[in-house]
């Protein structure tokens, strides 16, 4: 088992004909994902390696039974692409696109919530359930099927963590990059709720970073409601205040958001926080082993 995506996922790719879209679609297919359709407005009737391309999501869903979407549309057009996916009734939308204006996301996120569509991202590496399905840009081969859930706000840092888990013999049920933007579709808590219900997830690794208060909220949720062990890490102990560290959402503001505050809150919530990233695999082995 896994959360969000599995062997039954029928993936649709928005922006499939673009450079990024076509490259990563092929990577997902090579991993074993069922990519059943592509959508690029105006390019309906074309195809990519035998995957049919449609003008609208409505048409793609009718014809192929797609039930999840992966978005590679450039930032000016991505908000519209996300809404089209939600409006078509797809249960899951994963948006990889970086650089979407915050105002657009402030409108899109409530819209998707009204449609009961789970949005992952934007500005994220996507989702993978190792051995079953990959809806994202992460390197599939570093993952291993297993029972540890991973939730993270970043990309390569997640790969580093997953790699350590795999090297330590700990496979993963599902790994989710929720995104590095200030306004994202799903929070740590949203994902923790799903992992709590998943019988095959035995523990979770939570990778946070500076900015916002999502880690603190997650820590409270874990303390009060979460039944499985959690190992945590927070990047940015040395980040100066007031500077955006690469991710739009990674900024320490006057109202907090420092790594030290997050680590303290996570420890209070009973999370096994690792301060030296190099020791995460070892710590996870001890906690989950």
């Amino acid at each position: 088992m896994s959360i969000l995506i599995d062997k039954d996922t029928r993936l649709l790719v928005q922006g499939i004909t673009g450079r990024e879209g076509s490259f990563h679609t092929r990577q997902c297919v090579a991993y074993g994902t069922h990519v059943v359709a592509g959508v690029t407005p105006g390019k309906g009737g074309q195809g990519l390696d035998g995957i049919p391309v449609f003008n609208t999501i409505g048409e793609a869903v009718d014809r192929t039974g797609a039930n999840a979407s992966l978005i590679f549309v450039p930032s000016p057009f991505a908000p519209d692409a996300i809404m089209e996916s939600g409006a078509a009734g797809l249960g899951l939308t994963v948006c990889i696109t970086e650089g979407i204006p915050i105002k657009d996301m402030l409108k899109v996120v409530p819209f998707l919530k009204r449609k009961n569509c789970c949005l992952i991202g934007p500005n994220c590496p996507g989702v993978i359930s190792p051995g079953r399905c990959k809806a994202g840009i992460m390197p599939g081969q570093i993952h291993k099927e297993g029972s540890v859930g991973v939730i993270s706000r970043s990309g390569t840092l997640t790969y580093e963590v997953v790699h350590q888990l795999t090297q330590s013999g700990l496979g993963q049920s599902t790994c989710i990059g929720i995104g590095g933007d200030p306004i994202i579709g799903s929070s740590f808590v949203d994902m923790l709720k799903l992992f709590d219900q998943d019988p095959d997830t035995e523990g979770v690794v939570l990778i946070g970073e500076i900015g916002g208060h999502d880690e603190e909220t997650a820590a409270e949720y874990i303390r009060d409601h979460f039944s499985k062990p959690v190992v945590g890490f927070v990047a940015g102990l040395t980040a100066p205040p007031g500077k955006r560290m690469g991710h739009a959402g990674a900024i320490i503001s006057g109202s907090g958001g420092t790594a030290a505050e997050k680590i303290a809150a996570m420890r209070k919530g009973g999370i096994h926080v690792v301060e030296h990233l190099g020791e995460l695999g070892k710590e996870a082995s001890e906690v989950f082993g």
Binding site: H24, Q27, S75, P76, G99, I100, P101, I102, K103, D104, L106, K107, P110, I137, M138, P139, I142, S152, R153, S154, G155, T156, L157, T158, Y159, E160, H163, G180, P182, I183, I207, E209, I210, G212, H213, D214, T217, F233, A235, G236, L237, T238, A239, P240, G242, K243, M245, G246, H247, A248, G249, A250, S253, G254, S255, E275, H276, L277, G278, E279
Partner: protein
């Protein structure tokens, strides 16, 4: 993108938010003339830099004659202003704003920002203007009034009234007060702002509401649809190496330490900075070369890191994903050949095709210190700074 106070006030004027009469000057003579044109008997001269707390550093001064305005402007222009927000290096003053000095009866804080947790805009107001809103939020949260905005609706009149009455404005100011909040939200919404702040919004002795200070921070990701705002960017306010890096699509932030880093990915870059600290040194920078780092970008990355004279060692930390380690190793070797590197370089590669990548580093006749894991990289950084 941040802008200067005088630019923010020009925007306020366009949106009918009242501001004091005044204008910006680049030299003493201009400053004196502006004072004469405004008339009156007291003026304020304000240094224009992208940092708050200017009053504490001598960047806001009162003058009683136009000649004194000129003299103060002369002293301010070219000076390096250090405030609690500039850091110890301070910022050079290149322009001053000359305004009429007003008799202030009451001060408020008003602002518009994004509430990340509630995922909507929030209007914030307090009767304790002039004070930093963050200090106030920490010490007296009950002194702050907030209204969360439904973007599909905008700012309804009752929410504007809640703010006005919530901070205790006089009944006679309700019309003007709600007008300020309406226009403030319009600026925030229509110009894609991350933050709009009036601190303080004042009531003068003759009961006028005016924005005495103005701060706007635009969403960089939305600037593509506000091309006219790009003219407001002041490159002098950016650290020179950061400016240079941004021209090459490199995400670089200069820090105060002595070990430079080059990493693919922002989260891993932050974690690598932390690792430098844990190894007993201090990171000299944040540098994310992105997922598609080319030889050219790595070369430029080396040049920018070495442009910081404090750097006495470099850690390259690359996790190869879709972009393979062998490709990245070739890029690093090529780049290192082009740039004369006189400090030790620790290279840690892991991920896709890591063995091929390490062999490429080993075969090159360059003196890289190769590390296998994050923990190993920390140990090797510790050795070079010892």
């Amino acid at each position: 993108m941040k802008i200067h106070e005088y630019q923010a006030k020009e925007i306020f004027s366009k949106f009918a938010i009242p501001v004091p009469r005044g204008s910006v000057a680049q030299n003493a003579e201009e400053a004196r003339k502006i004072a004469e044109e405004i008339g009156g008997s007291r003026w304020v001269v304000k240094a224009q830099i992208h940092a708050g707390g200017r009053g504490k550093g001598g960047g806001v001064r009162i003058a009683e004659t136009p000649e004194a305005v000129g003299k103060i402007a002369q002293e301010m222009l070219g000076m390096t202003l250090v405030t609690p927000q500039t850091g110890p290096q301070g910022r050079q003053v290149r322009a001053v704003l000359v305004e009429e000095a007003l008799a202030v009866k009451q001060e408020f804080y008003v602002g518009a920002a994004v509430d990340r947790a509630r995922q909507c805009p929030v209007l914030i107001a307090s009767a304790e203007g002039g004070m930093g809103i963050e200090e106030l939020a920490a010490s007296r949260p009950e002194a702050i009034v907030r209204e969360w905005i439904d973007m599909g609706i905008g700012l309804p009149a009752f929410q504007a009234r809640n703010l006005v009455f919530g901070v205790g404005m006089d009944a006679g100011l309700v019309r003007a007060g709600t007008g300020v909040f309406n226009q403030l939200y319009k600026v925030f919404e229509s110009l894609d702002c991350m933050l709009v702040e009036i601190n303080p919004l004042i009531v003068t002795e003759d009961n006028q509401l005016l924005a005495l200070d103005a701060k706007i921070d635009f969403d960089d990701n939305a600037l593509y649809r506000h091309k006219d705002l790009l003219e407001l960017d002041d490159p002098n306010e950016q650290e020179p190496l950061e400016r240079e890096a941004s021209h090459h699509r490199l995400n670089y932030i200069r820090l105060e330490g002595d070990v430079g880093i080059m990493v693919n990915g922002a989260g891993l870059a932050m974690a690598t900075m932390d690792l430098i600290k844990q190894a007993g040194a201090r990171p000299a920078n944040f540098l994310d070369v992105g997922g598609g780092a080319t030889t050219e970008m790595v070369t430029k990355g080396f040049e920018i890191i070495l442009g910081d004279e404090n750097v006495r060692g470099i850690l390259i930390n690359i996790f190869g994903g879709i972009l393979r380690c062998d490709v990245l190793a070739n890029g690093v070797v090529e780049a290192a050949k082009k740039v004369a590197i006189k400090v030790p370089v620790v290279v840690r590669l892991d991920g896709t095709n890591v063995e091929e990548g390490r062999q490429i580093l080993a075969r090159s006749d360059l003196d890289f210190i190769v590390a296998d894991t994050m923990a190993d990289a920390a140990a090797k950084v510790r050795a070079i700074v010892a």
